[in-house]
Amino acid sequence: MIRTVTIFVALLALIGPVKAAEDVVAIVGGRIHTLGPEGTIERGTVVIEGNRIVAVGEKIRVPVGATIIDAAGKEVTPGLFDAHSYFGVEEISLVETTVDRYQMGTHLTAGFDIADAINPDSTLIPVNRIEGVTRAAVAPSSTEGSAVLVGRGAVIHLGGGDDFITDRHAAMYAVLGEGGGALAGGSRAAALLALREALEDAQDWTAHRDEYDSRQRRGYVASRPDLEALAPLLAGRIPLIASVNRASDIEAAIRLADEFRLRLVVLGGSEAWKVAPQLAAAQVAVMLDPLANLPASFDRLGATLENAARLQRAGVSVAFVSSDGHNARNLTQSAGNAVAHGMDYDEALRAITVNPARIFGIDRSYGTLQPGKLADVVVWSGDPLEVTSFADQVVIEGRIIPMTSRSTLLRDRYRTLDKAMRPGYR
């Protein structure tokens, strides 16, 4: 790949400065965490053309006319991926009209399609992308809805534009454990029963669709939109992301997933470390908040700051979540703390880039700095996981992102409280 690019660059040089170079960006001289087979390159260059990375390495010639981003003394990573967010579906948490994360009133909301609600003009997006978050899963709420099967989540990038939703139906969400029990009628067993019943309906429907349409099939608890939404889950095309924390509930979820051959992902997983071997054997990934170390509920008595490290050592794929949106930007701090509590550094970086990409099935196009990947790239002032480091420049799908947000504008407006300011700001 690199060779091809060199030839391309040589060609460019032959024909002189051309228009094509206008959308060529070269990030030069940084310490590059490729998170791919090339590992970490101590001093290298990333070349972006259009929306793709075309070259990464130590000895890359910078194309003539490329926009140069000087990264000398800086660090370069893929853009960050928040595996569980509410970007675009929750603007101000306590203003209900700005919150579109759940559906109330029915027992099953599997067909709930959050993609239809996402607002790419949310103020949360600039605030977080200027700090390195370039991609996110937008998930239905696991705590506020009325159903055990909550609905479908989407994957977006934070670069704006018409194409910001990259996968409308990226995952199905469910609530098990104490939360699921409360929704299903009391017991956590009832939550599993509700899930099983809906899945069996969907299995039957998938096999006998025509009879269902001609009303020659038994009735289902699941509605037609629910059945349609569950079909790709049963086909293994999307994962079931189950919000579950207690070890025994995680085991129950693994059994259910095995029974229906679902691709299970654990969300929360406070006690996942206790069942790490089972998770590893079943190849179940865990999406977690590494800072959640309090015994905040009776499902989470085993919470520990070492959860991520223990899972990683056991061979479980780990992704970090903000379960937020306003402060998804703190993913780096979460990952840094995971490292401080025993996690391998590169694995912590993977937990906010390529691991979530794998969960949502986009790792072929994003998550590492390799030629051919979408150009989500962040240049950091220093160690990306350090609380005193900042994103100096963010690139999303090749677009250089303006490093301003509503928050930076407010800061600059009130930079001085000089009485000489215009009336209104005195």
């Binding site: 015994p295 930007r329 701090q333 509590h341």
Partner: protein, 458 residues
């Protein structure tokens, strides 16, 4: 409450001859007094440390000597006193114990189930009569986790549903069977007040009663202060002239304590314009707002805060969870500090309290990046000395100065790094947490036998 007890006793002595005997303030103070007494400790000298003293100074190759529960000496290259336990802190950093001015540990403990929910007496907009200390559960597992984050002192407040939420209590982060065994000796009480959305949501929207609006909020404060002033006067008259002893009123007693200057006002207030109004209310009734908490917009009125001597206690980056939290900027605390006002970083969170050093680091770094000069020796003041001052214990703790309580943290690196962890925590000179020796750290009764090997915590 040394000050109150002394002044109460003094009044009794002075006035017993001519006036009435005021209701027994001294009895109240001693009934609810702290029972915490620091353990006897051996002298400890921490040597070769990088010290951030909390006074704005950084001392390299510092020696910190602790003796009889107090800091005995701090300086570069001091020789440790003979017989002292010497702790080599080469490559390590030492700070005063971290102080959180806004916590609900103990009143909203873990697990956070309804049975444990004791932080908001949500039945009336004025519940100045309730005291947080009467609900503090000393077995909250969160205390030990906060200790692992270097927190040695914390103020536990009632919640923010009410205009007047009740009295706060300042605790030392020591393990005890009782709240009294944690209570910071001599610390003044605080009064939790709340501006803005919460009271009007809980009462107006929630219960259809006053306050329905921010207008109603302010009318509610003023009405209460008028009554408190009358109550205060009644007791003063009684003390001077005798006669029939006025009836005690717990609610007004707390408010009168504020007017007497004995109870400090901690006012939850997000918006700049609302803080300015609250300063007016304080002026009308002659009390001081010690600190605005959650002061998301403090940066907009940093000059007013400097003028009134009011602290702004803030988060590093919380925003957007309600309208009044929409205008957050990362640099808030630094902008307040730069304007000459008192900046504090607080948590209001059982997870955030474990990493106040990191929260401060984020503010420091954002500010530096945006053009404000903030050094680590300056930033540490926001979670030590300024916090101590706002709790009225600034003469006791919050800095590494001779004579102060020996509340000291040894960090395994620069505390403003994400990788730094508190290695040892001393409270009144006693080694209370040691990362290399789990036996030393307190463990809540609650966590015993729950099969969480290596769980709950570090």
């Amino acid at each position: 409450m040394y000050t109150a007890r002394l002044s109460g006793a003094f009044l009794i002595l002075l006035l017993a001859a001519c006036g009435g005997e005021p209701h027994d303030e001294a009895t109240q103070a001693s009934s609810y007094a702290s029972t915490y007494t620091p353990a006897a400790t051996e002298a400890v000298a921490i040597v070769n440390a990088t010290a951030l003293t909390g006074t704005g100074e950084r001392i390299d190759a510092a020696t910190i000597v602790m003796m009889d529960g107090r800091i005995n000496a701090v300086g570069a290259d001091l020789a440790p006193p003979r017989g002292a336990i010497v702790v080599d802190a080469a490559g390590k950093w030492v700070t005063p114990g971290i102080i959180d001015v806004h916590s609900h540990l103990g009143v909203y403990p873990s697990p956070s189930v309804a049975a444990h929910s004791d932080g908001n007496e949500m039945v009336d907009p004025n519940t100045a009569q309730v005291w947080a200390e009467h609900a503090v559960w000393p077995q909250d597992p969160g205390f030990a986790l906060a200790l692992a984050g270097g927190v040695t002192t914390l103020q536990v407040l009632p919640g923010s549903a009410n205009l007047f939420g009740g009295r706060s209590v300042t605790l030392k982060n020591v393990s005890s069977r009782t709240m009294q065994g944690m209570k910071f000796p001599g610390a003044p009480y605080g009064l939790k007040m709340a501006c803005g959305e919460n009271p009007k949501r809980v009462y107006g929207t929630g219960k259809g009663s006053a306050p329905m609006t921010r207008m109603g909020n302010v009318a509610g404060y003023r009405d209460a202060w008028i009554k408190a002033a009358a109550y205060q006067k009644k007791w003063e008259t009684f003390a001077e002239n005798g006669g029939e002893e006025p009836e005690r009123d717990l609610q007004l007693e707390t408010l009168a304590g504020v007017l007497d200057g004995e109870i400090l006002v901690h006012n939850h207030c997000y918006r700049a314009d609302e803080m300015a109004v609250m300063l007016d209310v304080a002026r009308e009734f002659g009390y001081q707002v010690t600190a605005f908490h959650h002061a998301v917009e403090a940066y907009k009125i940093a000059d007013l805060l400097a003028e009134s001597g009011t602290c702004a206690a803030v988060w590093a980056d919380w925003w957007g969870f309600k309208v009044e939290a929409f205008d957050a900027v990362r640099e808030n605390a630094a902008m307040v500090d730069a304007a000459g006002a008192c900046a504090i970083v607080h948590s209001d969170s059982d997870t955030g309290i474990q990493r106040l050093n990191q929260e401060t680091a984020k503010i420091m770094a954002s500010a530096r990046r945006s053009g404000w000069e903030v050094t680590p020796e300056r930033a540490i003041v926001w979670i030590t000395a300024n916090a101590a001052a706002a709790l009225g214990v600034g003469d006791q703790t919050g800095t590494l100065e001779a004579g102060k309580m020996a509340d000291v943290v040894i960090w395994d690196g620069n505390p403003f790094s994400v990788y730094a962890r508190a290695e040892q925590v001393y409270i009144d000179g006693l080694l209370t947490f040691d990362r290399s020796d789990p036996e030393i750290a307190p463990q809540s009764d609650f966590m015993l036998g729950l099969d969480v090997e290596g769980g709950s915590g570090q």
